[in-house]
Subunit: 252 residues, 2 copies
Amino acid sequence: MGYPERKNKILRILDKKESLDVQEIADELGISAVTIRRDLVQLAEEGLLIRTHGGAMKAPARHPFTAFADKETVAASRKKYIGKLAASLVKPGDTIFMDCGSTVFAMCPHLKTISPLRIITNSLPAAAEFMDSPGIQVNLAGGEMDGQRKAIHGDRAIAHIRSYHAAKAFIGTDGLSVKHGLTAFSEKEASISTAMAASADKLFVLCDSSKIGKDSYLKFAPLSALTALITDRELAPSQETQLKGKGVKIIQ
Amino acid sequence: MGYPERKNKILRILDKKESLDVQEIADELGISAVTIRRDLVQLAEEGLLIRTHGGAMKAPARHPFTAFADKETVAASRKKYIGKLAASLVKPGDTIFMDCGSTVFAMCPHLKTISPLRIITNSLPAAAEFMDSPGIQVNLAGGEMDGQRKAIHGDRAIAHIRSYHAAKAFIGTDGLSVKHGLTAFSEKEASISTAMAASADKLFVLCDSSKIGKDSYLKFAPLSALTALITDRELAPSQETQLKGKGVKIIQ
DNA sequence: ATGAAAATGATTATTTTTGATCGAATTCGA
DNA sequence: TCGAATTCGATCAAAAATAATCATTTTCAT
């Protein structure tokens, strides 16, 4: 029984049980507790459940703002690292694009001290973050609000983004692989990302190592479009060599 | 039972009980009081509740955009009254403009149950308010964010508003008098209000009685533009007769 | 087929969690 | 204002869970 099969079984058990512990799953599936723990770590990273000491809990309904607020996961600490790193590429006087993903949002705390700075974004949490930062000018894309993603999406927003130019664009991605380049989970996010990429001189992609080597379903940009990939230090060496082989500059 | 699970249970209890004490929770969950105290400290740090001596209290709801910090002043209760009244003019299927004033914002809680509804606004708190209301489609004006007013202003925003049409516009004003009509304190707000008024079939002005008969410095619309004035019940009779004499319809 | 890479399981050391205890701080009534 | 009762914070020890390490098996691309 491979990981994908166990993953399904674990999630199915969780559907009924609300919370469960490691040993319980191990017994039920006839698999060692060590492996179950490894599975749970991975499932937690994918956001499909919440890891607890001793087991796991159902993931709360994907509420982006709470998703941004979840501090205890491994992915969150990676995001913080990546956010800080990405923010260090921003200089006073810059104009930058920022998309609406949580990884890109992690840049915000580190950008507050940079002044002057102009940020063009479709992310409401990002806009809120700079509400009281006088040195930072925020330009919010207009259009239909997506309450789930806490962002502005749609044709209108894309037209808005297209009408601006910025030196640097910072975008996230749901998947990144040598084979398929950048992939997104949703058409909405992909189109905004594409528009930002097209209107910026440099394109920085923020992506934690858990998503590298994986693909989501919608291809939206080739690796050749990247100025650099910003990721964490846990990137598998094999992935690293593959990406470097393709000429991708990696910042970590 | 680990911390995450207890955390949920504690918050669920708090949802119903408003306030609770340590021993009470400890008994209910069958866990030592020491542990509950530790939990409460952590929950308080996360801002999910307020720690008190001996227990905890509900935390005030916090949204990405902290709405207007109106306390329980007289003006606030008038605004609530006006907001409810104005909301009663909105029907399912409407498309409406809402500006970024606090009086107009007071409509929001009463609009949440109206579905379907399309709202075009430049107010960030209003947008945030409907973030979780699936039946309500929010169209946010794009452009430069004004952190002080928690709204989007500028040419871009005005062009955005102008490109739409709505059946009804709800706007606030800083002053309203028979002599000078509607007056505003700031160019920014006035231009947005004008644009909304121009693109709507009906114009409703929300203005509490304390501002009626007073003028701010920038005239932005004549009384004849109003479909109706929505105000509170404390309007001075003399003002009322004057306004009616000018053909202003008053809803209160 | 074959060797490298990945997945799995067992074992051990480390970390986390929990509850108990005790002195210090806070609340509340007189 | 004072004193008793309660609550709090810090420290400690025990138990549980985890992370790290290593050997073994499986998988996969060549």
